[in-house]
Symmetry: C2
Subunit: 353 residues, 2 copies
């Protein structure tokens, strides 16, 4: 069993033991649950991502109103303990259905999700550690990286054109070998296939990662591990609009909603490689006018602490001024090869000096 | 170059030659374009999918109004010819941006998509043959199948837990080897991972395919090829609601919109394995009440020629009567293993006899 799983199993058992010991000692069992309310979600300048503050609530078995929630949490804890022991995983949806057989079942999926999140926070583990997997798989990865999943080794150059897919069980992946110097992640699979076809992995000694829109948790964790364990710089090339910016920013600085696990998911050293408002002007890209919803969103980003550094403020203001946005694929105006032959080398030069 | 590419290249060249010859002979060049209007989309009982009827329009270089469309089609044809020669592909979006440099560019993406579709129909090829790829990748495949993409062989048992991803260039895949007797496709990646974990590939000697919702073109073509080239029965296990039914039906009988390529995409021999209204009753599954939109959709399906056989009519009517729907994952009510240990064996027995 992997180290993280062993630790999680121990934490789960300890939670149960503590409750039983309290009961044996005729003390009323209590569980401290850190608060996830907006007022307790704080942007940490040092860590460069959102964290939870120190507010918390106490759930006591001596309080009739809290009995149900504690009961549900213990059922979930027990379910996860069995999952880990059996080496299995389940989706939150599956657990919700399994809970139909419990003495304290859930009214709806939301209640079940909340209790799982409470348990993550109480134990200081991720839902993946608990064996509770998200529905969606991660990004596509292409390039000179060999990973191991269980007893199988996978070479991300030999997994086919669509690459190696990051599984939800991302912490069980071992990095066996690599021969790359950086990671270039792109928003769309259209651009991913462009980079593969134009041999960007050779030209830039890089891994190519196709995010498929908003990055899945598994993708974010994988990028963080590449950055921290393999010391690879991570660059993100998205569409030049508020949505493209934010897909990158959630990879870089995490989300407020996941403040309790951002330390496992955020890659503060990752850099946005484009498309910027400056690129739109410098490369004379085909554009679409900003829509009302884009403008509202850009103004929101200006008030967001994750966007407070000079680069972002300048680019967001410039985009509001030129009132235009552009897609990654718009570089094709100059031919399919342009993005790899001209744009990316120039931008990498700029960022890496 | 693959056979299909060679054929397509020849067709593209012939299209150009015909126009030049006409001009040299002082004849006005004309192109016959089969109509894609609703009145020309017909359900073919023998083929068991929609086809185009025999209505067509003629675009003539002698008609000023049609000059632009013919010009665009020839530019697209030329672009595709170059793609094939270079062994490249492009997304429709990329081609749209490339077209900025043409003498007859497009007003919007829709115009560009329409012309590409015209070209598919005029030449009797698919957009994939032309090198114009959709944005999205195909399904995840797990099990004893080895394929070749170019000079790389991929074993779908050794591509990691998330399996082998079907690339958009699905006709360039060669089936090298397999040791399975059937294919089981499921709607969600949650269910895909359940089947992998419970070793469904061993229990049922099957390939496990994770559709990720509505099946991509590449997935539909891949399933058809598995069924026709490898003679493997294909079963589809989706949610028990009109959307799950229809995801299966588009795999089985194609869509009206793609009438001109259904013969390449539809797998009329594929079978729906569940969840049915009968299953909801027999297995006493956890359900949600049908919403108004579900009821409207189910009634639409009853009027759809693809659903005219006895099985579908009975199940749709039964669902309208019990007013309930159920998800694939609801079998977890009986434990995570139940779907593989009990449900699927019983259903396969029923379908295979």
């Amino acid at each position: 069993m992997k180290n993280r799983k062993v630790k999680t199993l121990k934490k789960l058992k300890n939670l149960g033991k503590r409750i039983i010991t309290d009961i044996q000692n005729k003390k009323i069992p209590k569980i401290k649950v850190p608060s996830r309310s907006t007022s307790n979600i704080i942007y940490d300048d040092n860590k460069r991502h959102y964290v939870l503050g120190d507010k918390y609530g106490v759930r006591s078995l001596g309080n009739v109103k809290q009995l149900r929630k504690i009961g549900q949490m213990l059922y979930v804890a027990n379910f996860c303990k069995e999952l880990i022991k059996k080496g299995k995983t389940a989706t939150l949806r599956e657990m919700y259905y399994v809970s139909e057989g419990w003495d304290v079942d859930f009214n709806d999926q939301q209640e079940s999700n909340n209790i799982s999140e409470d348990l993550e926070i109480v134990l200081g583990v991720t839902r993946e550690d608990l064996g509770l997997l998200p529905e969606e798989d991660g990004a596509s990865v292409y390039g000179k990286l060999t990973v191991r999943e269980g007893d199988i080794e996978i070479d991300a150059m030999k997994a086919g054109k669509s690459g190696y897919t990051i599984p939800p069980t991302v912490d069980e992946i071992e990095f066996v070998d690599h021969d790359v110097e950086r990671v270039i992640a792109v928003e769309t699979m259209g651009m991913y296939h462009r980079l593969v076809q134009e041999k960007a992995h050779k030209k830039f000694d890089c891994l190519i990662v196709g995010l498929k829109g908003q990055a899945a948790r598994a993708t974010r964790r994988f990028l963080k591990r590449l950055n921290e364990e393999l010391k690879l710089p991570v660059y993100i090339c998205n569409d030049g609009d508020p949505w493209g910016f934010h897909i990158a920013m959630v990879i870089i600085s995490g989300s407020a909603k996941l403040a309790h696990v951002n330390h496992e998911l955020a890659t503060p050293n990752a850099k946005f490689l484009g498309v910027t408002a400056t690129d739109i002007i410098n490369y004379d890209l085909p554009t679409d006018p900003l829509e009302e919803v884009d403008i509202i969103r850009l103004k929101e980003l200006l008030r967001d602490p994750r966007y407070k550094d000079e680069f972002w403020r300048r680019e967001i203001k410039k985009m509001l001024k030129i009132k235009k946005k552009a897609e990654q694929q718009s570089f094709s105006k100059y031919g399919l090869e342009y993005v790899v032959d001209t744009y990316l080398p120039e931008k990498l030069e700029e960022l890496e000096g």
